[in-house]
């Protein structure tokens, strides 16, 4: 079996057993990236020698008897909005230029301490705004299953790289579905944990109250292993929760007997493609067959989630992105006449149109006279949504829904109709508004061979339940083992 077909945990085991060295693994990954990058454009920055020397360092530590972690020496990628010391972190935007942060994100420090080997930085929608990974200044990412289709977004590079076997796991960020939806489109497993469980220190903010980082990998078990490394209280993030890290991987039993799973009827109605609906309901049957109780219930909030999400996210974004002004770092326009001109030219030329659209929308909903009607109302809706989920979790251990209404669209189909693109976030955004954990797992393919994902949703801090059910599902199915044909097959 070739290395790239292994799961992250399988490769980690071979490394610890001495069958594969971290340097060999990193070299294999770099070879694979060389082969696939021209096809899918998943990476913005590839670290050649730096990755190999980091692998060598891990190799030395392992030889010296350090235990590190189950993923020690397994090469990984990070979405390009996660700060890496001295390594370009662009958010796929022109405006950041060759900005190299002076520090590592907390999560990066944790992964490095666990023997993580960073291969490179992954492409994405500019500033994580988008559902297709087409808005990148560095060109669109393509779906490894069909290069004429998008990989989803905004963590499209992360999902594509894992799907194409370029790295064994990746960390993305999820503000409204940006981990789960590309994972679904690319046939891999991705998880957004509870808000506050993974430190946001070092994640370039899009919408601070909704942003959360999490893993994209082949399996739920791989995701559990990554979360074991990155979750936990960080005193550098004021919104970080007092949670213990570790134990998720060890807690995976595959036992879902007696578990109560709710299917919100409002997530299976109009707008959902029949093939997606069939596959997600089939996933429910798999869990039922393993002893879970599955039933439908009403969750009558779905029509409010997209407008509330876009108002809150855009409002925070308009403020968070104001610091990109050409004064201190990143790219600065030339030929400005005065300060206002410097700001205006830099931001006009430095941001792409989707980012500008959201900055304008956000500035509008926060402006005097509109604040109460829009932003404040959106916060009230957010509270209502959270309450609806709290009530659902009084009855159910988990909820099961689709991730997206359809499979991956073709490149260029979405950007002309942003409203349609926004509406396709309907199943993923409520979790960000409610701060809940959600996982996207492969549950089938459509007639065109494109992957379909199912979403498992847990109560706050219910990561173990979510991962447990996903692991159980993956014990009985093989969708997650399928890989697209790589560049070598042609």
């Amino acid at each position: 079996m070739e290395l790239h077909a292994l799961t992250a945990l399988q490769l980690g085991e071979k490394i610890r057993a001495g069958e594969v060295s971290p340097v060999e693994a990193a070299q294999a990954a770099l070879d694979r990236v060389r082969q696939e990058q021209g096809r899918n454009n998943a990476f913005i920055t590839v670290l050649g020698d730096a990755a190999l020397s980091e692998a060598l360092e891990t190799e030395k530590q392992l030889r010296a008897g350090a235990r590190l972690s189950p993923l020690a020496g397994v090469p990984m990628g990070l979405k390009d909005n996660i700060c890496t010391k001295g390594i370009k972190t662009s958010c796929a935007s022109k405006i950041l230029g060759d900005f190299a942060p002076p520090y590592d994100a907390t999560l990066v420090q944790r992964l490095r301490a666990a023997g993580g080997v960073l291969l490179g930085k992954l492409n994405m929608d500019e500033f994580a705004m988008g559902s297709t990974s087409e808005t990148s200044f560095y060109g669109p990412v393509r779906n490894p299953w069909d290069l004429t289709r998008v990989p989803g977004g905004s963590s499209g590079g992360a999902a594509a790289a894992v799907a194409a076997g370029e790295c064994w796991y990746a960390v993305g960020s999820d503000t409204g579905g940006s981990i789960r939806q590309p994972a679904a489109y690319c046939g891999v497993t991705g998880m957004k944990p509870t808000y506050g469980t993974v430190s946001r220190y070092g994640l370039v903010a899009y919408a601070s109250s909704l942003d959360q980082m999490g893993p994209i990998a082949r399996t739920a078990a791989d995701c559990a292993a990554v979360l074991d490394l990155i979750m936990g209280r960080d005193r550098r993030d004021g919104t970080s929760l007092e949670v213990e890290s570790g134990g998720l991987l060890a807690g995976l039993t595959g036992d879902v007997r007696g578990m109560k799973i709710g299917l919100p009827a409002d997530c299976f109605g109009e707008g959902l493609e029949p093939e997606v609906r069939a596959c997600v309901l089939a996933a429910a049957d798999v869990l039922r067959a393993r002893g879970a109780q599955v039933e439908e219930f009403a969750l009558p909030i779905m029509r409010y989630v997209v407008p509330a999400y876009y108002m809150i996210a855009a409002a925070e974004a308009s403020s968070n992105l104001s610091r990109f002004d050409g004064v201190k770092y990143g790219w600065r326009a030339e030929g400005y006449e005065d300060l206002t001109d410097l700001y205006s030219k830099t931001r006009t030329e430095g941001f792409g149109s989707e980012v500008k659209r959201r900055i304008l929308l956000g500035a509008f909903v926060l402006s005097a006279g509109y604040y109460d009607a829009y932003y404040k109302k959106a916060l009230q809706v957010k509270a209502v949504i959270k309450r609806a989920y709290d009530e659902a979790f009084e009855k159910y251990d988990l909820l099961l829904t689709p991730v997206a209404p359809s499979t991956a669209p073709r490149l260029g189909e979405s950007l002309d109709d942003p409203l349609k693109m926004y509406l396709s976030d309907i199943y993923t955004v409520p979790l960000n508004l409610a701060g809940l954990p959600g996982l996207s797992m492969p549950c089938g393919f459509d007639g065109g061979g494109m992957p379909i994902g199912a979403q498992l949703i847990g109560p706050a801090l219910g990561e173990a339940k979510v991962l447990g059910a996903a692991h159980a599902f993956q014990l009985d199915t093989d969708y997650h083992t399928k890989m697209p044909k790589g560049g070598d097959a042609q």
Binding site: F99, T239, S319, R323, Y375
Partner: protein
């Protein structure tokens, strides 16, 4: 027509925490540009603020001392605007739920100034223009230094009231230890909102806001200038423009900076990176218990326990360091009234001559207590003691050593004094005659001569007594 001036103040006070409001960088004043900063206070992408608990504590204490209601559930908000001294392009401040509201500050004119609110916020950096290379450079050392902004109601009617309030505010915050309130270092900054209206009118006129007021003197002068300017404007039938005006110290005038009529929209919204702060009953009780004795309480106690005159207590409690100095001197055994006299007379004289504040002096209560004891035990007379004081004040020298070295010890030996009196009497028969003839002044002359004979070191009581006895005899 007579006019009334109406003034409200917005005072920014830098809190004396060791570290900044949202990171561990030092708040120390000065430093080479951009050496007191980190990714957090320079707003680098991805960096996050973490609340410094000490800032909340200091703000709550200030709120309590200014008799405010403390907000039990308080939040930060973002104030969004672009400027190169603000690297995040928003200032973390409090709009919707400030930490304290509805306070009251009694001032020495007898009036009480109402506090509208007190809120926490972060300071911005500093821009330095270099005309030589025609470049503006940014120094972010001050970014993230914690501030409280204290906003009054428009309760002032004169510059004197404003200064009295600021003196009281400064003294109170210094007593609390929450700020050093140094205007010259910018740790106390004041914006003055001023309008005029016909006397008796209840409506507020259009106001201007004055900035760049760097001393109490500047504030008083700017108020006088701006009130006059507005009154002249009104009398000429012109309209006052709502604007921000800059005080120019050298030109002794205010100049328009920017109009507020097209007010900037700061698009305030709740800061999502910092969780709301809950002030619990326990927390509040603990802070109340920790509040030090403030000026008013000290004044009352000094009058009650030591029978000091009200005037003395006000002088001494005007600066916390002075009150501390006084209490320590008394604790070392000095009689309170003696200590008060020395402090009001000599210590304040030296401080004002040196342009110093009490908290910066080297002179210690121990040395003052010793000088007072030397006078009390008759070893020094009061005038010589003042000379010793002046000599040792600057570097808190050893009073006893100085007295010994300069042979200043007081002569209380009645034999020595009597000999000097004999000498003076035989040399000044005219004065004795004058005294007999009822001229009291002659007595003083004789005392002076005897003191001179004894190089000023004689005990005045002993000299007086012996001269009187001798004059009785020669009568």
């Amino acid at each position: 027509m007579t006019w009334e001036t109406v003034i409200g103040l917005e005072t920014h006070v830098e809190l004396a925490t060791r570290t900044k409001i949202f990171c561990a960088c030092t708040t120390e004043f000065g430093g080479a540009p951009n050496t007191h900063c980190c990714p957090v206070c320079t707003g680098m992408p991805g960096a996050l603020p973490v609340m410094n608990e000490k800032v909340l504590e200091f703000a709550v204490k200030a709120g309590l001392a200014l008799h405010c209601e403390i907000t039990r559930y308080s939040k930060f908000d973002r104030k969004n605007y672009f400027y190169p001294d603000l690297p995040k392009a928003y200032q973390v401040s409090q709009l919707y739920l400030p930490i304290a509201r509805n306070g009251a500050v009694p001032i020495k004119t007898g009036k009480t100034i109402r506090i509208h609110e007190l809120h926490m916020e972060e300071d911005a950096g500093k821009l330095v223009h270099d005309p030589w290379i025609d470049q503006t450079r940014a120094d972010y050392n001050r970014c993230g230094v914690p501030l409280i902004e204290i906003v009054t109601e428009p309760d002032f009617r004169s510059g004197e009231e404003v200064i009295a309030y600021l003196e009281k505010l400064r003294s109170t915050l210094q007593y609390l230890g929450v700020s050093d309130c140094k205007m010259q270092e910018g740790s106390l900054r004041c914006d003055v909102n001023l309008s005029v209206r016909p006397a008796g009118s209840q409506e507020l006129g259009t106001r201007t806001e004055m900035k760049n007021l760097n001393s109490f003197k500047a504030i008083a002068r700017a108020i006088a200038y701006e009130a006059r300017r507005q009154i002249e404007c009104m009398e000429e039938g012109k309209r006052i423009i709502q604007e921000t005006r800059r005080w120019d110290e050298n030109k002794d005038a205010t100049f328009a900076m920017r109009s507020k009529e097209n007010a900037q929209d700061y698009r305030y919204f709740p800061e999502p990176d910092i969780p709301p702060m809950e002030v619990t009953e326990d927390y509040l009780e603990r802070l109340k218990a920790e509040l030090p004795e403030l000026a008013e309480e000290k004044m009352a106690r000094y009058q009650r326990e030591w029978s000091l005159p009200a005037y003395d207590t006000e002088m001494i409690t005007g600066q916390k360091a002075l009150a501390d100095f006084f209490e320590e001197t008394v604790a070392l055994g000095a009689p309170p009234k003696q200590a008060a006299n020395w402090i009001m007379g000599e210590v304040l004289r030296q401080l004002s001559a040196g342009g110093m504040e009490a908290k910066d002096m080297a002179f210690t209560p121990r040395t003052l207590a010793r000088l007072i004891a030397l006078v009390q035990t008759g070893r020094l007379n009061r005038n010589t003691a003042v000379k010793v004081f002046d000599a040792v004040f600057a570097s808190d020298g050893d009073a006893d050593a100085y007295v010994k070295e300069h042979g200043l010890e007081q002569v209380s030996d009645s034999g020595l004094v009597a000999a000097a009196v004999e000498k003076v009497f035989s040399a000044n028969p005219k004065s004795i005659e004058d005294y007999r003839a009822g001229k009291e002044k002659a007595f003083g002359f004789l005392v002076g001569q005897v003191m001179r004979e004894l190089r000023g070191q004689a005990s005045p009581q002993v000299v007086n007594q012996i001269i009187r006895e001798r004059l009785e005899q020669v009568k």
